[in-house]
């Protein structure tokens, strides 16, 4: 069972193989750059996708709500083995991190208020802010190319951070504005869907 578009019918990949592959990605992708791990495994090691397909699915993942890692698991799993493949992939990619953070939650509940733990976690939080800012800059470098983009970035950050708009409101207002700004260029037959 491939996508209804029939764009790709790869060799039969078993559900177990899909689960194990995504489980390995979910267990080893330390450092947040899960996209790089996905590419190395899916395009490099297994050749389930080529680079063009990978970038295409990644752009869909980034536009939709949901994390890149889980959206990619759904889209790739679906391409390989339909909804069962999608389910195997997302469970695999989530399982290791979920178990780890469950244990962290238990330990934090028991030891989180010790002064030494608190001091360490404040240092971790400071470092994490640096990491998150760096990730944002890298995301911006990849996806922004136009001066108008900076206006949309700033406008979104201002309405959410200073004016306390909800994310759906910001998406509805600034998102609609940005989509209209990048509306299809009028061609001979017009922008008819």
């Amino acid at each position: 069972m491939a996508g209804p578009d029939g764009a790709l019918v790869p060799r039969a990949v078993s559900l177990g193989e899909i689960f194990r592959t995504f489980l390995l990605i979910g267990a080893t992708s330390f450092g947040g750059g899960v996209v790089a791990y996905l590419r190395a495994s899916l395009v490099g090691k297994h050749a389930w996708l080529d680079d063009t397909e990978f970038v295409e699915l990644l752009s869909i993942s980034q536009t939709l709500p949901g994390l890149n890692a889980t959206n990619m698991a759904i889209l790739v799993g679906d391409r390989l083995r339909g909804w069962r493949g999608a389910a195997a992939a997302i469970v695999g990619v989530c399982l290791p991190g979920a178990l780890l953070m469950f244990v962290v939650g238990v330990l934090y509940g028991e030891h989180g208020d010790r002064p030494h733990v608190d001091a360490m976690l404040r240092g971790v939080a400071a470092a994490a802010v640096g990491l998150i800012l760096a990730t944002t800059v890298q995301l911006g470098r990849k996806s922004l190319s136009h001066a108008a983009d900076l206006v949309f970035v700033a406008l979104t950050a201002v309405v959410v951070d200073l004016l306390k708009w909800s994310v759906p409101a910001a998406l509805g207002a600034v998102g609609a504005l940005a989509i209209l700004w990048y509306r299809p260029k009028r061609s001979v037959e017009g922008p008819r869907p």
């Binding site: 953070m101 469950f102 939650g105 998150i132 995301l139 951070d161 940005a178």
Partner: protein, 177 residues
């Protein structure tokens, strides 16, 4: 452990999952409002601690939500949060993903992808500002964040390793009180 909170956990995290456009960070401002200010499941510093530790975990980078669920309602809470947070966007990705591929030649598809790109960066930036306000409390934390930021943009060091180094800085410089 409070099983009466389960419906609220499911509601909150199903809603938050739909806000993660561009990355989990986009949902952070409302994650803070809902878990800290509205439901009092944990304090803002506790949320920041769990979120930061979560940055070192492998896999999807919002797994710290499991720790919130565990804190509120034990194993049941962790499982409820996990399903509530990942199922809605999974179903959405499944159906819209199929539709999206079929819409490859629809001109507005490119406009939507292009237009939402800067907005999602803005959402993630707003999340950064929220967490920075809570985590950067003095010169040690500001210097740590700045050092990690510069190192990550200039080198290819593993981010998880740098965040772990933050723990040592914290122990050495922030442990005195």
């Amino acid at each position: 452990m409070n099983l009466k909170e389960l419906p609220a956990l499911v509601r909150v995290f199903a809603y938050l999952s739909l806000l993660t456009v561009g990355g989990g960070m986009a949902a952070f401002p409302e994650l803070k409002v809902l878990t800290v200010d509205v439901h009092h499941w944990l304090t803002f510093p506790q949320l920041i601690h769990l979120y930061s530790v979560g940055q070192m975990a492998p896999g999807p980078n919002m797994m710290m939500i499991v720790a919130i669920g565990e804190r509120v309602a034990g194993v049941a809470g962790a499982a409820a949060v996990l399903v509530a947070f990942f199922l809605p966007t999974a179903v959405l990705a499944y159906f819209v993903g199929r539709l999206w591929v079929r819409l490859a030649r629809w001109p507005w598809r490119a406009s939507i992808q292009r237009g939402l790109a800067p907005v999602s960066v803005g959402l993630v930036l707003a999340g950064c500002l929220t967490i920075a306000r809570g985590a950067l409390t003095g010169w040690v934390t500001v210097a740590t964040a700045a050092a990690v930021f510069v190192l990550l943009l200039r080198t290819r060091l593993n981010p998880a390793l740098l965040v772990l180094c933050g723990a040592l800085v914290g122990l050495a410089a922030l442990g005195g009180k």
